[in-house]
């Protein structure tokens, strides 16, 4: 559902297992630890926020520190702060590299070509999307045949295309090949090193490494799930609860709580609320064929958000039965009470029974999405 993003330090740990060079470094969760690490490394360091958002450098999440003193100060500034909305609780303190050149190497999914594609560029250390837009000719693309791994010779050819010769072709080739192996074995949607640094000594070191594991493949990566359990704690608690209940839920910042059946329908509902001048508190999809319990779980999660002033339930029942939905709603009312005004749009399979159950319970339901969305927005405005 989310694409399991891995922290830089975790990606580097995986990379090391494949023989890829990463800067010598250690994790710190306090300014003192950062100081100790800098002291231990006995060289200028880089202090890096471990967050899952991209673009942390520009947002102040990466600081250079020449001395242990400065490392401690940098750590003090970054720890506990928010980088692009994400709170920083861990830092990676690394030996600073002697950079000769910065490259980009990445393995991505090409949706329209329906295959993995290897990307490489001599322009590293900058936003690759910018490069792709401004100077696309500077990015070399090698689509990878389905079911086949990248061969070492193909990786060496790519290294050559990046302008390298002799032993560096072998070393960079090996790096690229092993990055692809790691990506493949971990079912990565994305695995990139940006920048991939060529040091003044001619070595290739992954200064940064980013991996996103295909959520849908997690069933075959149980160890990874356990190892990265701490990633879950970075998520808002309601998102964790929703995950446990098998619900697709994304917290937003408005006050109209939304529950619907079908991702497209829910997105359309969010859009409609926005168009009518309101703001959705969340996205929540109960999926197909949701029974009363599922509906109850979803409502509980959504209502667990204190920002929610109005609840909007939008159901277009195909396999999902309207009477089941009504029962789920009543279950929640009995269990925790419906303290917020609730707008329900209920059509589809068994809609008559469903509406009847609600009517008898004193809960009105509407027929069109437009009417329901307008009502929800109106109630939210009134609640302020």
């Amino acid at each position: 559902m989310r694409g399991l993003k891995i922290f830089e330090y975790e990606a580097k740990r995986i990379a090391s297992q494949y023989g890829l060079h990463v800067p010598l470094g250690y994790l710190a969760s306090s300014p003192q630890e950062a100081r100790d690490i800098a002291q231990k490394l006995a060289c200028p360091v880089v202090v890096k926020a471990q967050v899952l958002v991209a673009g942390r450098g520009i947002a102040g999440g990466i600081k250079l520190a020449d001395t242990p003193d400065k490392a401690e100060k940098a750590a003090f500034t970054i720890l506990g702060s928010k980088i692009k909305g994400e709170k920083v609780s861990k830092l990676l303190v690394e030996k600073r590299l002697d950079i000769a050149r910065e490259l980009y190497v990445g393995l991505v999914v090409d949706r329209s070509a329906k295959c993995y594609t290897l990307l490489a560029s001599q322009v590293g250390g900058v936003d690759i999307e910018e490069v792709s837009q401004r100077t696309p000719e500077k990015i070399i693309k090698r689509p990878i045949e389905a079911g086949r791994a990248v061969e070492v010779f193909q990786a060496r050819e790519l290294a050559q295309s990046l302008g390298y010769k002799g032993t560096q072709v072998v070393e960079l080739g090996a790096f690229i090949k092993e990055l692809c192996s790691a990506a493949n074995e971990y079912d990565s949607e994305l695995a990139e090193s940006n920048p991939l640094v060529e040091t003044k000594d001619g070595e290739f070191v992954a200064a940064d490494l980013r991996m996103i594991v295909d959520d849908n493949a997690l069933f075959r990566h149980k160890l990874l799930l356990e190892e990265t359990r701490d990633v879950e704690y970075e998520l808002p608690p309601l998102e964790v609860k929703a995950r446990e209940k098998g619900l697709a839920y994304v917290e937003l910042d408005g006050d109209v709580g939304i529950v619907g059946n079908g991702a497209g329908l829910v997105m359309a509902t969010l859009d409609m609320i926005q168009d009518y001048g309101g703001r959705a508190a969340n996205f929540c999809d109960v999926g197909g064929g949701a029974g009363a319990q599922r509906i109850a779980d979803a409502l509980e999660v959504v209502l667990g958000n204190p920002k929610v002033m109005v609840l909007f339930l939008n159901i277009m029942g195909g396999i999902t039965r309207c009477d089941d939905v009504a029962k789920g709603l009543l279950e929640v009312r009995e269990k925790m009470g419906l303290t917020k005004p609730t707008v329900i749009r209920l059509v589809g399979t068994n809609e008559e029974e469903g509406r009847k159950i609600l009517q008898e319970a004193g809960i009105p339901s509407l027929e069109t999405m437009e009417d329901a969305a307008a009502k929800a927005v109106e109630l939210a405005k009134g609640a302020k």
Binding site: M1, R2, G3, V53, A54, V109, R111, S112, K114, C115, Y116, D127, E129, E145, A146, G147, N184, D187, E189, D214, D215, N216, A217, F219, R220, A248, V250, L252, G260, N261, G262, A263, G264, L265, V266, M267, A268, L270, D271, M272, I273, Q274, D275, A280, F283, D285, G288, M316, G317, G318, I319, V347, G348, T349, T368, M369, E370
Partner: protein
């Protein structure tokens, strides 16, 4: 199986089922076989719909492809990207049409359904409807039917990042289909399928009116909105990009699902 019964009732000729280990059983009067190979030789089946859980879907789909079934509707949600890539490559090699995965299927309101959509919202007519959604598709089909605008064929392309038939593929099929007089596309954030469709419409000087609705204008970047393929990555896959591209191709854009019917009624 629940859906087998509904499809049979709708008029679909379901002639067999394949579930390894369950050969010899009967479901809704339909024989079950241990392998697709046996099912095909025993029944003469030529198409398939797959409900196998995600961890085993690659195997099941490759089995169907390998036995010449075409088209193949893959209902399953949650198939890993790597598996989907393998499936599509095999399908391409065998010239096999895959619909989905993570799709409600395909329906011709004249009496054939290979899918799980609620039949009652569809009505026979001349609008070709192709969507990346499930229930949103039913929502739009229902409003089309209410407005007297029946559908020729309606299908879900699937909510995953890697799918079989694309908007471009289906636009081409609708172009050649005499029953389809206009086309409605329902897209969402993520990927560039709609942008590619827009380019195709321009290049082909598309001869039939096309209208479209794109869900996810209010979606934040970087978050997966339910569907595995519904995510704005960096600057790619925004609703704005799709809306602009389609508008530029002369496609009339609906701002809400119900407007699709209104736009088509206007012509």
């Amino acid at each position: 199986m629940f859906h087998t019964k509904l499809m049979l009732e709708y008029g679909t000729k379901i002639v067999g089922g394949a579930t390894p280990g369950k050969g010899g059983a009967q479901v809704e009067g339909v024989p079950v076989f241990d392998t697709v190979k046996e099912a095909v030789s025993g029944t003469g089946a030529n198409a398939s719909i797959i409900f196998v859980p995600a961890p085993f879907a690659r195997d099941a789909t490759l089995e169907a492809i390998s036995n010449g079934l075409n088209p193949i509707v893959v209902i399953t949600e949650g198939i890993p990207i790597r598996d989907a890539i393998d499936i599509m490559a095999q399908a391409k090699e065998r010239d096999c049409v895959i619909i989905g995965p993570n799709t409600p299927g395909i329906i011709a309101p004249s009496g054939c359904k290979l899918g799980i959509m609620p039949s009652h919202v569809f009505k026979e007519g001349e609008v070709g409807l192709a969507s990346r959604s499930g229930t949103l598709t039913y929502e739009i089909a229902a409003s089309l039917s209410r407005a007297g605008l029946g559908q020729s064929t309606c299908l879900g392309l699937g909510g995953d990042p890697i799918v079989g038939l694309s908007f471009v593929d289906i636009l081409e099929m609708f172009r050649k289909d005499p029953q389809t007089k206009s086309v409605a596309l329902v897209g969402e954030i993520g990927g560039n399928a709609e942008e590619l469709a827009a380019q195709y419409i321009i290049d082909a000087k598309y001869p039939k009116p096309v209208v479209a609705y794109i869900a996810g204008r209010s979606a934040p970047p970087g978050k997966r909105m339910g569907h595995a393929g519904a995510i704005i990555m960096g600057r790619s896959g925004t609703a704005e990009s799709k809306i602009d591209a389609l508008k530029n191709a002369g496609v009339r854009m609906a701002l809400k699902p119900g407007e699709i019917a209104t736009l088509l009624a206007k012509k």
